[in-house]
């Protein structure tokens, strides 16, 4: 294992993750010792519109996958409309490969709460709901405790720090449905319905939670806000690129020596990120990887130097997504990996729209058949045909996302499919269903 290069090390930007090193940062006492809630005091002295302008100026883009400019989203909330406004924090982390929000809520829950109160003040909301993935009890436990501590200290509730501002925060646990990470499905779920996406427009900015103006932001987005309030937009822009400013928590997993969370300047390359993660594991050659979860088309070792920012990933035909960098090697089977991901989309499809419900159902069967050595050349055409019907024709991004692994794996690794189809490779699956089949 060689030391990372200077260039790679220079990309490290510990900002949101920095407090994680303090073992008691999750307590109010620890958080306050580490300058916690100073951003809130500062923000409450500013005009809410100036906070929206500040976030706009910082160039902060949503960290939940889509990269929509956060300040613009806040600015879409109609003011003086007589309706209650809401902030909903999307903490339903579940995109395969993504594992940044849970450690943040575990190690530094108050930073999310502080960001949420500032965001509420800016958009004139008096209630925030943090929708935490059901399974994430360890993170929800700390978050609930932190909300309680913050309330007792006067940071949450009525007349916060004698400012006249009121913000209530409710931590709401989900119940195991990936689709609820989609913002409108999340809103339906939060209203007590099946988590199915809504038709847009109208957008949540005008008709969100309870048909009222609502901002839905990811955990990492909201947790970035206190730092922008303190350090300013100019400082925030010293990190990242012009169009993708700021620090970003990259989650690298798989065949590297030191998988984990690496907060870096947006625009770091995979080559540098792998260096930071201690290099590839001995005996493993990089074969395929996802830049931001399974819903972002996979890339290969040809893309080691593409910048991992919103534009850079678009430039090579994929998306930055949640910066969930999953690394697979020459010892991993790309056809099997695709099959498992499609089983996932099949299981998690909410069933509302036909392309996603039926498309994933059939793609699982076809991929299984190929892996069982019973595939045909037409199967590849059928897979691509199904993808054509999914991409852009599904109700939400889940369906679009399901097309990603299939299309990209066939694009880069068609030979791997042909090896199964033409019998050069022994069947991997028995004709009967394998572990993990639903």
């Amino acid at each position: 294992m060689t030391a990372p290069s200077k260039e790679a090390l220079a990309k490290l930007t510990p900002v949101l993750t920095k407090r994680w090193l303090a073992p008691d940062a999750w307590t109010l006492k620890g958080y306050e010792r580490l300058d916690g809630y100073t951003a809130l005091r500062k923000a409450l002295k500013a005009h809410p519109d100036d906070l929206i302008a500040l976030v706009k100026e910082s160039g902060l883009r949503g960290r939940g996958g889509a990269g929509f400019p956060t300040g613009m989203k806040w600015g879409f909330i109609p003011q003086n409309d007589g309706k209650p406004h809401y902030l909903v924090v999307n903490a339903d982390e579940g995109e395969p490969g993504t594992c940044k929000d849970l450690p943040l809520m575990m190690a530094d829950p108050h930073s999310l709460i502080e960001g949420a109160i500032i965001a509420c003040y800016a958009i004139r909301a008096e209630a925030a709901y943090i929708y935490v993935r059901g399974e994430a009890v360890h993170a929800a436990r700390r978050l609930r405790n932190a909300v309680g501590e913050a309330r007792a200290a006067g940071y949450v509730g009525q007349n916060i720090l004698d400012s006249g501002v009121n913000v209530e925060i409710v931590v709401h646990s989900g119940a195991g449905a990936y689709i609820c990470g989609e913002e409108t499905a999340l809103l339906d779920s939060l209203e007590g319905y099946r988590g199915q996406p809504r038709l847009r427009p109208p957008f949540p900015a005008t008709h969100g939670l309870y048909a009222s103006p609502t901002v839905v932001n990811n955990v990492e987005t909201i947790a970035s806000v206190p730092y922008i309030v303190l350090g300013g937009a100019g400082w925030f822009r010293t990190m990242g690129t012009e169009k993708s400013p700021g620090p970003k928590i990259y989650s690298i997993s798989g065949r590297v020596n030191n998988p984990g969370q690496y907060e870096c300047s947006l625009g770091i390359t995979l080559r540098q990120l792998i260096e930071l993660a201690g290099g590839m594991q001995p005996g493993h050659q990089l074969k395929f990887w996802t830049p931001g979860g399974s819903s972002t088309p996979m890339l290969t070792d040809e893309h080691l130097d593409a910048p991992l920012d919103f534009e850079g990933m678009q430039g090579v035909g994929t998306m930055l997504g949640t910066t969930a960098v999953q690394i697979f090697s020459d010892q991993d089977d790309v056809v099997y990996a695709t099959y498992r991901w499609i089983e996932f989309y099949h299981h998690e499809s909410c069933g509302k729209c036909t392309p996603c419900r039926e498309g994933n159902y059939w793609m699982v069967q076809i991929l299984h058949r190929i892996l069982a050595g019973k595939g045909t050349h037409e199967d590849l055409d059928t897979l691509l045909d199904v993808c054509d019907n999914l991409l852009g024709r599904s109700f939400c991004a889940l369906g679009d996302g399901a097309a990603s692994p299939v299309q990209s794996s066939i694009k880069f690794f068609k030979q791997d499919y042909l090896d199964y189809i033409e019998g050069r490779r022994a069947p991997m699956l028995p004709p009967a269903e394998l572990v993990g089949a639903h």
């Binding site: 399974e135 609930r144 870096c264």
Partner: protein, 233 residues
């Protein structure tokens, strides 16, 4: 009514968290709550939720059947969930699930004859940097291969409570469901448990080792007002 007065009081508290007229938001926590008493969403549980919210049983059942964490049959005291999404599956999760399934004699979403352990495979648990992972009653066991998983399950079968890698000491599934319904964990040590593991701190440790920090951070940087912005133009 089969539910205890305590559960009824909790139900009222849950409903009170949401705005007047928007009580239906309480449905997910209420479904977790009925599982805290019965271990699954029974027909009585569905009626209970419907009564609390003034909606029909069909409306409740439609929601309950949508979400993976609401169980439709009685579950064991210990819910053993093995991640078999791609990353964990490739790194050992597939083998772990097959091994546990053979050992326990049950398949996905099935419970052992003695009613102690329910086995399931799950989709991505958002801990890929600790892959392969499994959970027991949603508490994480990181970097677990088949033999370690077997040792863990044997401990559960012998009445022991293995310590999770992160989070709190194990508690029975029904007790955990109270937390899922939005109530705090009243065990004083529960919050302390499990500091961040190596992968969580990997980037931080590297920055520390090489003395890297982000320059130019001044918390007194003024927030520009509208007048400031106009003057700048």
């Amino acid at each position: 009514m089969p539910f205890s007065t305590e559960t009824q009081a909790r139900a009222k508290e849950i409903v009170g968290r949401y705005p007047v007229g928007k009580e239906r938001s309480a449905l997910l926590p209420l479904l977790h709550l009925v599982q805290s008493e019965q271990g699954y969403v029974s027909p009585e549980g569905i009626s209970f939720c419907a009564e609390q919210l003034g909606i029909t049983r069909a409306q409740v059942a439609a929601v309950a059947s949508f979400y993976t964490m609401y169980k439709r049959r009685p579950t064991g005291e210990w819910l053993v969930s093995v991640c078999t999404n791609t990353m964990c599956g490739v790194l050992g999760g597939d083998k772990t699930f097959a091994t546990l399934s053979e050992h326990l004699g049950v398949g996905h979403d099935e419970t052992t004859e003695d009613g102690k352990i329910t086995l399931e495979h799950t989709e991505c648990l958002a801990a890929c940097d600790y892959a392969p992972v499994m959970t027991v009653n949603y508490e994480f066991f990181d970097n677990v291969q088949a033999d370690e998983a077997m040792a863990l399950v044997r401990q559960l079968q012998e009445g022991q409570r293995p310590s999770p890698s992160r989070g709190a000491a194990l508690c029975p599934l029904k007790v955990m469901s109270i937390q899922l319904a939005g109530f705090s964990d009243d065990r004083p040590e529960a919050l302390e448990g499990g500091g961040p593991g190596g992968p969580t701190l990997a980037g931080n440790r590297l920055a520390e080792q090489y003395g890297i920090s982000v320059a130019g951070f001044d918390p007194a940087t003024p927030i520009p007002s509208q007048a400031d912005r106009e003057a700048k133009k």
